[in-house]
Amino acid sequence: MTNQIPQARLRNFSIIAHIDHGKSTLADRLLELTHTVEGRQMMSQVLDSMDLEREKGITIKARAVRLEYTANDGHVYGLNLIDTPGHVDFAYEVSHSLQACEGAILVVDATQGIEAQTLANVHLAMREGLTLIPVLNKIDLPSADPETIMDELENVLAIPREEVILASAKDGTGVPEILEAIVARIPAPKGDPRQPVRGLIFDSHYDAFKGVIVYVRLASGTLKANDEIKLMASGARAEPLELGVFRPQLVPVKQLAAGEVGYVATGLKSVRDAQVGDTLTTVAHPAAEPLPGYQPAKSLVFAGIYPVSGEDYPLLREALEKLHLNDASFTYEPESSVALGFGFRCGFLGLLHMEIVQERLEREFSLDLIASAPSVEYHVKLLRGGEVAIDNPSLLPNPSDIEVLEEPWVNLSVVTPSSYIGPLMELSTNRRGLFQNMEYLDPTRVVLHFEMPLAELIVDYFDQLKSRSQGYASMDYEEIGYRPANLAKVDILVNGEPVDALSLIVHRDNAQSSGRLLTAKLKELIPRQMFEIPIQAAIGSNVIARETVRAMRKNVLAKCYGGDITRKKKLLEKQKEGKQRMKRVGSVEIPQEAFLAMLRMGEG
């Protein structure tokens, strides 16, 4: 049952929170209290419908749902809850979700206080001019400290404590007050339903039957079910199969009017034609100007993704195509590697995004994959003129051809209890971080600001941050552009042949230690062969580290009598299969596991 609700009684809002502060639980409670989802259908965290999201406890893709709420004033209000991803990698999606709203519920964990993504999300919301409803969640916990955290909100974000609602999404405390606050504090959407249609696409997914389903917030106009539509940035046109709203399942309606949030089943075959941030209008009465803010999602982290078994390459291609229908925010193009065979160079929004894409490929398509070490995109000014962008270290031009090498930098904010300032300063400056300043959130917690090369961040900075702060510190970052850098490409050569997948770009000061580490590790991993194998690390033609795998001396079956023949033959067959799975670099056979272990080194 879905009622047509006048614009004045619509409210469009998001919930923003740092990871684990209880956003999804609060959303579930709102759904329950407004009978959007009945108790018996309630599955914990309804909005996080991907398995992976439930497992990781994070929301990856934005989701939307319409709640119908009878307020204390006796009127029925239509509340459109637009969920946002809670992780730094998805800031781009967050900002588009927020553009579709007039207000946001800011959830802060009453036991944890402000975290790095709280700050980042609040800044995004303020930039969009949203009305904030601050909520301190988890006040039922004994360790909750609402007074201190209200101080933090006041001091750091200028949020008056009188506005803060104390709540427990778990037991329902404060949730009715939140619903009333949504009605009372968040303004109704504006926008003239008689103007040409302009709808902001804030999310999309691919449905095998209905094609691309776009999630839109209508800024103006009235979209009818039979209107032919056009996407202003991509230029794609479509005759929609269906319009509807989210309850949270898709419920068709006859029209969507200015201020409303709903979906359009476009019948389009690829999400690339209807990307997040694009503006939807009608062919018959097109809008003159698109809504502001569209830019294609930008890849920051790049890696090669390869099937462990070469024969799975066509399956990987197919899987990437299918996944891309749903997630246009990663890029992929074929590449091949001496060491890893045929695969794809993929671009991701960040490390978590990379991990999620890889896991989805492995789970949903039953693939066994190997990813090369993540890289950023370097900008290279060549001596002979011209500039190239390199996202694969092995493709970096020779040092003698490079005039300037630039790498991306980020502004990094780290929120931490003050007792970990020392170790985190050390970690960050070791990673070439430039300390900017420190702010106190309260007497015991601080925000540290650094500028840092993104390349240093994507290796294992986040894991190190967590381990050195016993899990208490959080981080957020945004890109701030390219800067020249004193970097060197270190190649790893096995028996004189470069192993492309193991090339890395490091700061020149760290080149030798990295080279030593890699050659020593590789020496352990390459089994002895019929001849001696030198393993070298080199910058250009200059060898900076060397190890040697000595020639094999003995591989013999000592006993071969009656029962041994069958057994040993099987053993030899296994050895042979093992050899067939090996990768060849020149004349050297290297087990796949060696590459896996080398590529995992950075994770340890």
């Binding site: 000595r550 001396r553 013999v556 079956l557 009598y561 029962g563 030899l572």
Partner: protein, 408 residues
């Protein structure tokens, strides 16, 4: 095409104690010694199996003495420690063998033994029962290495065992020695080898200690020909493997090759040396792919076309052949594997190359194995000798698996 056996293997799975590196089908403890031992039950079951196997051979090839059914050239009692069986039991088993299979007048009849005084058996009684060759599991002649290996005997026991066997009239005596012993050294190896030579054995088997995992190889299931590795043995192997050393092992082997050749020993297989005339006929039968019948738990037979084995489990073995229900005895559980042409060709090549006879050059020119032979020659693992036969070099013996896996 199946052919009648020229040899017979009899597996006796009992040992006084288990050695942690051993993968053979062995039971120790109460089944091997003491009032509840199963020695007699096994001996009876072996005699019954010999009868059943004999029946099948009679039906196919005719009774012993017929033209198509030659008398056995070799009988081999292996284990375990078959000398734990009383000589009278061994005599009774050999009597059944003579009756049902026929044994050539000059046949080689071997028994394996441990050197310890309580496990080596009574050599003169064994000789009286027909045994003419004993293979002693000496393993090392260094006291510390024997302890490291969990052996029960001491170096002096080896000398005594050998002397007693000689005095008892045993014609041919082998010593097994192990190299690449965990934390061993080149020096202990050369000393062990010299001490062994000083005892003047007729035959030496020098084995690289190989610590495998039969469970991981899938050999220990209900019909498997191996018993599961005990936890203690597994832990022992996990500790021992890092204490082995490929380079040291290679040096130890090369030393033995030179030392034995210098003294006129015949290195006739990768791991075996004999004084001329004492080459093991039983083992040569395996390498020449001649048919060998087998009885006992875990025993492996080959009839020229099919490899057949009995499952390893002693209890099920005895129950099949001496059913406690009083039912008719039947053959024990096990499995078999009939070789196709490619398997047979690979086996012929691998087993032939293990010996110093090698293979005729013509064998190396035939596809699909010719590429592997070329590779072996290019890498100095193979040479063609003055007999126009292709044989492993010494380097090739040490690296033979690299070649063999290319032949499979």
């Amino acid at each position: 095409m199946a052919r009648p056996p020229v040899g017979l293997y009899i597996h006796v799975p009992f040992c006084v104690s288990l050695c942690p590196y051993c993968d053979f089908v062995v039971v120790a403890g109460a089944a091997a010694r003491g009032p509840a031992n199963r020695l007699g039950a096994l001996a009876a079951a072996l005699r019954t199996e010999l009868g059943l196997r004999g029946d099948a051979l009679d039906a196919t090839f005719g009774a012993p003495g017929w033209a198509g059914r030659p008398a056995l050239d070799t009988v081999y009692l292996g284990g375990g420690t078959p000398t734990l069986l009383p000589a009278a039991e061994i005599g009774a088993i050999l009597a059944v063998v003579r009756e049902r299979f026929g044994v050539a007048a000059d046949a080689e009849i071997t028994i394996e033994a441990n050197p310890g005084p309580d496990e080596r058996g009574d050599a003169s009684a064994l000789a009286a029962a027909g045994i003419n060759r004993i293979s002693f599991g000496a393993q090392s002649l260094a006291a510390a290495e024997l302890r490291r290996l969990g052996r029960r005997h001491r170096p002096a026991d080896v000398a005594n065992a050998l002397a007693i066997a000689r005095a008892g009239g045993i014609r041919s005596i082998n010593l097994d020695l192990l190299y690449d012993i965990p934390n061993g050294s080149f020096a202990t190896w050369t000393e062990s080898l010299e001490a062994a030579l000083a005892l003047e054995p007729d035959h030496l088997s020098l084995y690289a200690l190989t610590l495998d995992d039969p469970d991981a190889e899938g050999l220990t299931g209900p019909a498997g020909d191996h018993l599961p590795t005990t936890r203690g043995a597994r832990q022992w192997r996990d500790r021992a493997i890092p204490e082995q050393d490929e380079d040291r092992a290679a040096a130890q082997y090369l030393h033995a090759v030179d030392r034995l050749a210098a003294s006129g020993w015949h290195g006739y297989e990768i791991s075996n040396w004999a004084r001329p005339g004492h080459e093991s006929r039983h083992n040569l039968a395996y390498w020449e792919r001649r048919p060998v019948e087998a009885v006992g738990p875990g025993g492996h037979a080959f009839d020229g076309a099919t490899r057949r084995w009995n499952a390893a489990h002693l209890g099920r073995y005895i129950e099949a052949l001496s059913p406690s229900t009083g039912a008719e005895p039947h053959l024990p559980p096990g499995g078999s594997d009939t070789l196709d042409h490619g398997d047979a060709a690979a086996e012929t090549a691998i087993l032939g190359l293990r010996t110093d006879r090698g293979l005729p050059c013509s064998a190396a020119a035939e596809p699909p194995l010719d590429a592997a032979f070329d590779w072996g020659i290019d890498n100095r693992l193979l040479v063609v000798d003055e007999r126009e036969r292709i044989v492993l070099t010494t380097r090739g013996r040490l690296l033979s698996n690299e070649l063999f896996r290319r032949l499979i």
